[in-house]
Subunit: 322 residues, 2 copies
């Protein structure tokens, strides 16, 4: 009986792998540094080794495994299992990641966008359980996201759906790395939130957050939140500005997709209910239309860094399970 | 053999009904004035009479008909077939439209949002044929829309999906009737486009469009387009501003839904390829991200006012057909 999948979350720093059961529990997992300097073959060798070690350590054989799901940064050619390119790991240009992992492990493999995998993970086992339609937003360097529609990952017609971070929220707005102006993530990701504060400080704004920047040389979203709680004016403004933009993004998601839930994850979501979720909800209600009540719930993600592995396993079930 | 559906498009001015075949052709149709002053029972009586007349005139009996689909303005309770309220026709408050039509015609009926019905119509028989994922945008008083995902109408978790006109595109933007600020439709619908020009003229802007407003007392999007073609500066600015906002909306749709096509309809789309579609495409390409090529096609709607009837018939097939 094939009762397990292996989910692999390929990142620029770590390769995280897990043996996942039919009820979406992580039975065993491991983490290895990504040998980014060794080229894609070295990376694939670690992925395959870790996957096979998970089996052996758990006393399982190939006959127990449905397949391997791989969540990877992109852009990807999902249909053919190919990494088109990968900004953080050199050498992955038109690289047949899926088939290489499959060849080395002798297991069926499937490739998925890492943000989609995380969304499926939260849907299967986290903040999106038992609903029909869900969006995951992860607040980190950018705003990652994935969409679940009718209980399935929605990939779009060209495998590019679910890029909530690149919704346009301001005409002639900030220039994004993607080439668009006014992308949502430039206003509310952890990185760009801190960048906004730095720009204000460089333009002459003083206060606790400015002093912290001077002392440390850099500030992040945690600094902003700490100074906010201590009453610093710029920190309060910076935090609220980001949450208001994020709330606008959530409203647009409701107007378009009308989901049961929007699940908020990523490093910045560690700020928690009182500091992040509750003020976000307040802005969301303010920005939300008034012609019908608020139906969509905003909740925090539950799986943290495990979402990607569980979701990658979920993709393998979807593709290779019964 | 049940080979036909009846599609009804209920509007504030006209009730349009059609007998629709399995291949989405209108076999026979009719149009009656909406007796808006007579209350909902009078409206339903006309709907039922027209539906039964379509059968009789075509020599068909009840056994030939799968059911009746009704596209209606809302808000609606789709599940229960109830009109929650209707701004343009008094008396429709918590009115069981579906069951009343069914009782009077002795045919199964189903209720659908009119914008969703139009989107399904274009998908089945118009600008969205033979694809997987599509969005219809209709440029009229506001921006109506409906979403097709995986070849099905997508309604969302609370029957409120597909409100592209209420995507937020400007922080602290124009106040919309829905209570939100910065809704897309306030920048690019036919009505609001003209309203923008009027405001500019009232603020002192002169020229051909201003003269036309003075002469006629009112201007619409056709006036703006005509004066634009004649070289009027304000008309050019007004038209391009609206199309650029619409292009931003299309880009956001691509980032979120990555559809095969975005279909543009409504009164303003009658401006056609050279005046509307081509400049819209140019703005769309400018606003679109540069990290991957443009995949989504922008096309004009093909069915005009028939889309709603055909789509309403399609909803009846979906619900009551095999």
């Amino acid at each position: 009986m094939r009762d397990y999948c292996i989910g692999i979350d390929l990142g620029g720093t770590f390769i995280k792998s897990a043996l996942v059961s039919r009820d979406w529990q992580i039975v065993r997992d491991k983490q290895s540094p990504t040998p980014a300097g060794g080229g894609p073959d070295a990376v694939v060798a670690v992925m395959a080794r870790d996957a096979l070690e998970l089996l052996a350590e758990q006393g399982l054989s190939h006959g127990d495994i449905v397949g391997i799901g791989i969540g990877s940064p992109g852009p990807l050619d999902l249909k053919n299992g190919i990494v088109v390119g990968m900004p953080n790991i050199p050498g992955f240009t038109m690289y047949p990641l899926r088939d290489r992992v499959s060849a080395l492990t002798k297991l069926p493999a499937v490739l998925e966008n890492d943000a989609n995998a995380a969304a499926l993970g939260e849907f299967l086992a986290g903040g999106g359980r038992d609903i029909e339609n869900m969006v995951l937003l992860t607040l980190g360097t950018g705003v990652g996201s994935g969409i679940i529609i009718n209980r399935r990952l929605y990939r779009g017609s060209f495998s590019q759906a679910g890029e909530v971070g690149h919704l346009l929220v301001e005409p002639e707005g900030e220039l994004c790395g993607c080439g668009q102006r006014g992308c949502l993530e430039r206003y509310c990701s952890a990185t760009y939130l801190a960048q906004y504060a730095v720009r204000r400080i460089e333009a002459g704004q003083d206060g606790m957050l400015a002093q912290r920047l001077k002392a440390k040389g850099t500030i992040n979203s945690i600094d902003v939140n700490e100074c906010r709680k201590a009453g610093d004016a710029l920190a309060i403004e910076t935090w609220n500005r980001a949450l208001r933009f994020l709330a606008m993004g959530c409203v647009s998601l409701c107007r378009l997709l009308d989901p049961d839930r929007i699940v908020i994850g990523g490093g910045m979501a560690k700020a928690g209910v009182a500091d992040l979720l509750d003020p976000l909800k307040a802005f969301f209600v303010e920005e939300h239309w008034k012609v019908a009540p608020v139906h969509t719930e905003l909740v925090l993600a539950e799986l943290g860094n495990n979402a990607g592995m569980i979701g990658a396993a979920g993709v393998a079930w979807e593709k290779h399970g019964q």
